[in-house]
Every structure is written in structure tokens, then in C-alpha cells.
Amino acid sequence: MRNDTPALVKRITALSLITILLIGFFLAFKEMPKGSAVNVNQRVSRLYVMKNVETATKMMENGKFFAKGIKPLRTDVPYTPITFGKSKNLEDGAANVVTSIVVDYRGFDTLGEVTVLFLAATGVAMLLFGKEKKRKNKTEPSLIMYVGTRISFAIIFLFGIYIFVHGHLTPGGGFPGGAVIASGILGLFLGKNGYKPNHLGLKVFESLSGMAFVIIGLTGLFSVHSFLANFLPTGVIGDLYSAGFIGLIYIAIGMKVGAELSAVVNSMIVDVEEEWS
């Protein structure tokens, strides 16, 4: 919009634009299945929940998957009941179906997602690059704050690790786990003026955990001939040591996200003097 557009005109334009958009959305919603009509069984997620993508693949290769008019017969794919704590050697051993989709069935998306976060952290650090100035806060945090943040950091850190290690069993996973760890580090910043995390350590940690993700992917490529393929046994559903490489990847993601978000917080908090020399 132009610079000198009066506020009222701008508002009316925006309102009419939004109204048109929302009318379009509601017209589209009327044609969308709603409420009890939402049929997960017609969607590709049915196969992910039942963990029988391999069966469906075989059906597809035999030409039995698509009916006349190219309708996929997802409801025809047979399934074997899955019992928590008993079923063994499923194609994907994660009890949390969302995790199995995020890391296994659509792991490539997640690699991209980690990259996006990495790039955002890199961009933030690149734009705020410069010589560090001393922070001058008027008030020093009290002793209770100092001690409290340090003690709570340990607990928060452990909790973050718990979240991403149990990502394939309980809600959570690498991203919230990493975010929790980063908020612990944010607490440390609040607890002491001029707190400095180990920059070199953060950087190395971030790089190594990111590389670990790609290397796990490449291991899949060279051992099972497909990038990001699960090459470990999947174990019993519900066990801590199950779901193959999902645990490994979530640990890598958790550490990477934690390091990255801490780096973002760090570069945002520290005042720098820009230098172009």
C-alpha cells in the first residue's frame, strides 16, 4: 500500500479484503466434510495409524489399490491388530503415531523443518553480528533469582531431555524438548547480568547434531538404499528401546533445536556494535 494512504481507507480496504477471503473460506467449508463426516479411513493417515503402508504398497504394485475412477481403496487394506506392549516388529514401532509420521513416514519434511529453524537462527546471528558490548543493566537480579534459576535450570534441562527421549511414546518430541531446554537457558540469562553461554560449544553442538541427522539419513541411503529409511529393528511397541531410528533422530533434533534456540536467545539478548571491516 502507498505511504500516504489515510488510515480509514487502509482499514476499509483491509476489512473488505478479509471479508472476501472469509466468505470464500466459508463457501469452501460448506463443501468440506465436517463433524462426524470427517472420515480418517478415507485418508492416507489410516495406513499410518494401522502401520500397514507396506501392505498397501504391495497392493498398489499388484494394481489392487485403485478402484475404477482412480479412487484409492484405503479401507480395503487389511490390518493386524496392534496391542500396546505386545506387538513386535511392526513396520514402525512408535506408539505415538504423530511421531511416527513426523520422523519416519514423512521424515524428509522434518529434515527440512530443522533446516528452516537452523537457517532462521543463522540469519538472526548473521544480522546481529558484531563486536560485543558490555550489557549495562541498572539492577542486578537478587541472590534468590540467581540461585533459583541455576537450580531450576538443571530440572528444566532434565525435563527437556525426558521429553525428547520419550518422543516416540508420549506427546512431545524433539521440538518441544529443545524449546524447553532453551527456555532453561533463557532463565540463566535472566538470573545473572552478563551471563555468557559457551559460544564455541553451542556452535559445535549445533553443527554436530545437525550433521548427525543427515548422517543417519545417509546411512539409510547406503544401507537400505533410501534416504532417511529406518535401518534399525523396531522392537516391541511401547518399549523405550523401540521404533528404530526415531529415538536417535529425536535426540539429534532435540539437541539441535535446544542449541539453536539458545543461540537465538543469546544473539537477541547480547548488545553488539556493528562492524563492517
Partner: protein, 84 residues
């Protein structure tokens, strides 16, 4: 019954978003948007999506708001000058 609770939360969330529209101070707009995220993450529980709820609470409501406030602190001087 739970749908009525959800309806209530939706109404609260919309009102919080409206606070972000009309608030004169940046800080209250930011806090309001943080609470919108928190409310939405509550709705995710009703929508049977605990994973999303935890992520939204940790990232959308927690860290994102924190980064907002850190950035706001850096430009604190500008706020009073800019607001008409």
C-alpha cells in the same frame, strides 16, 4: 459437554486477539498474542492433539513471546516516541 468449554475458550481467544488489535501499548499486544497462542494450545487438547498442544505451548506461547519481549526491550526507547 466439552464442546461448550471449547466454545468459551474460542470466544476468549477471539477477545484476546481483539485486545491485540486495539491495544495502544506494544507490550500488551505482545502479551495478548502470547495468550492467543496459549488459548489455541488449550484448544489443541480438546482437538485430541496433545503433541501439537505441547509444542504450541512451549514454542508458540513460551519462547516466541520471550523473544518478542527481548526484542521489545532493545527498542524500548522508540516505543514512547512512536505511539501517537
Amino acid at each position: 459437554m466439552i464442546i461448550y468449554v471449547a466454545t468459551l475458550i474460542v470466544i476468549v481467544v477471539i477477545m484476546l486477539a481483539l485486545i491485540a488489535v486495539f491495544s495502544k501499548k506494544l507490550l500488551s499486544a505482545i502479551i495478548a498474542s502470547g495468550f492467543v497462542s496459549l488459548g489455541v494450545s488449550g484448544l489443541f487438547f480438546f482437538l485430541q492433539a496433545p503433541d501439537v498442544a505441547i509444542t504450541e505451548a512451549a514454542i508458540g506461547a513460551g519462547l516466541s513471546t520471550a523473544i518478542f519481549i527481548i526484542a521489545l526491550k532493545k527498542v524500548k526507547k522508540g516505543e514512547s516516541k512512536d505511539e501517537e
